[in-house]
Symmetry: D2
Subunit: 135 residues, 4 copies
């Protein structure tokens, strides 16, 4: 894996996401990470929905977030993700939430690659590596 593909989507912050401090509530960034991941995966040519249909799932094993500055209501954010690593059955995806040039929140999630029925790690990850364009 040389330079990982980066995918960016825009997201408009609704009132729903804010809290009484007047900023986006901290848990919502994990939903932003998910929105961003979905589009990263879609860009590889297969959607997460299709991955599930093929019998895979990518449950989250870890999540790590650093909050640098708050996003606020009606901000038009850039959500950018890229694959940071894929070792065995562990996939790490990095995500950045930006307003203009300013990184507001950054972090990464670690996913297990499992069989959607048994929830056990898949043995051979060639297909999923290929699907996620990690080769």
């Amino acid at each position: 894996m040389s330079e990982p593909r980066r995918v960016t989507i825009q997201y408009r912050v609704p009132y729903a996401d804010t809290d009484q401090m007047g900023v986006v509530y901290y848990a919502n960034y994990l939903a932003y990470f998910e929105r961003s991941r979905n589009e990263l995966i879609r860009e590889t040519g297969v959607t997460y929905k299709e991955l599930e249909a093929k019998g895979y799932a990518l449950p989250v094993a870890e999540a790590h977030l650093s909050y640098h500055a708050p996003a606020t209501y009606d901000d038009l954010l850039d959500l950018t993700s890229w694959v940071e690593g894929l070792k065995g059955v562990r996939l790490t995806i990095h995500c950045e939430v930006k307003r203009g040039d300013k990184v507001l929140v950054s972090g990464h999630t670690v996913h297990a690659i499992v069989d959607i029925k048994t929830l056990r790690p898949v043995r051979h990850t060639e297909e999923i590596r290929h699907l996620l364009s990690c080769d």
Copy 2:
């Protein structure tokens, strides 16, 4: 059905539920209604989870809310529900959100009674009427 059973639970408002107006975001009351409904059903002697295991589901067909006054962070609310009506395969549940004596939000949800597999209305609702103690 004479006087319907009323069930009340307490709920502490987290920061998560507030928005930048400093009050509970309006969509969250539908989750409060659900929490309250769950306990109403539990009190009948069968949980909603058990209803699902028996092959039923109660998808929401309508929801109606009146917002009288806002709930705020750290309020300890009373969530009260009761069955307002059961006609054929339509179940109506009323819910009230109170802080002390003050009704903050009131409303009702209308549920279809369906087979959880086919999502089609169930024919004979005797069992569910009995389960929900509506007789």
Copy 3:
């Protein structure tokens, strides 16, 4: 008010919005309504954020939803809103959630037009009528 302006935005459903029935959880549609209202207001030439800066707020007094069919993960929905009525200090906004030609959820919210500091109804609504292009 002749034919009201209709504004439509697209919205991609994340996993975050689904529940264990495999469909969008019923409360989330109120957040969809809000996203749609925000864009309706923006299209009038003033954003809700600017309305607040001018000293107005539009707190929700009522919400009514009809659930016709479920939205599911990764659906690309159309969220459409229009002003249904403005009488005195009560503004009614209708919203429709569609997937292709199919209306999944429809409903309306009733808003009070208030002074953002006192939260009391504003006396003269000419400016806000004008701002919302309701004349």
Copy 4:
């Protein structure tokens, strides 16, 4: 600080918190952490609301979560928090989400101790140390 005070509350999982995998959506655990923190702080004799009234805020600088096993609908969870460290103006709170003896999710949040008006780190943290019973 010898043995930190641990505070546990119970929490019933609503449908609202689940996703289409049939488990609690990963972002919601950060709201669980918040519910648990609120009660930890309350137990020290001052609520977070009172801390804010005294001019302090504890914005989140980092969050770290490990997902061991999923929580599901209607689970009655134990949410336990304790202060893991307080160095200068950085407060670390650990949180565990358990179902019976099984730890489902664990993690910690790092908070800055700031002036609620300026959002700048407070100089003298004696009062807040005392308020949080960290001495």
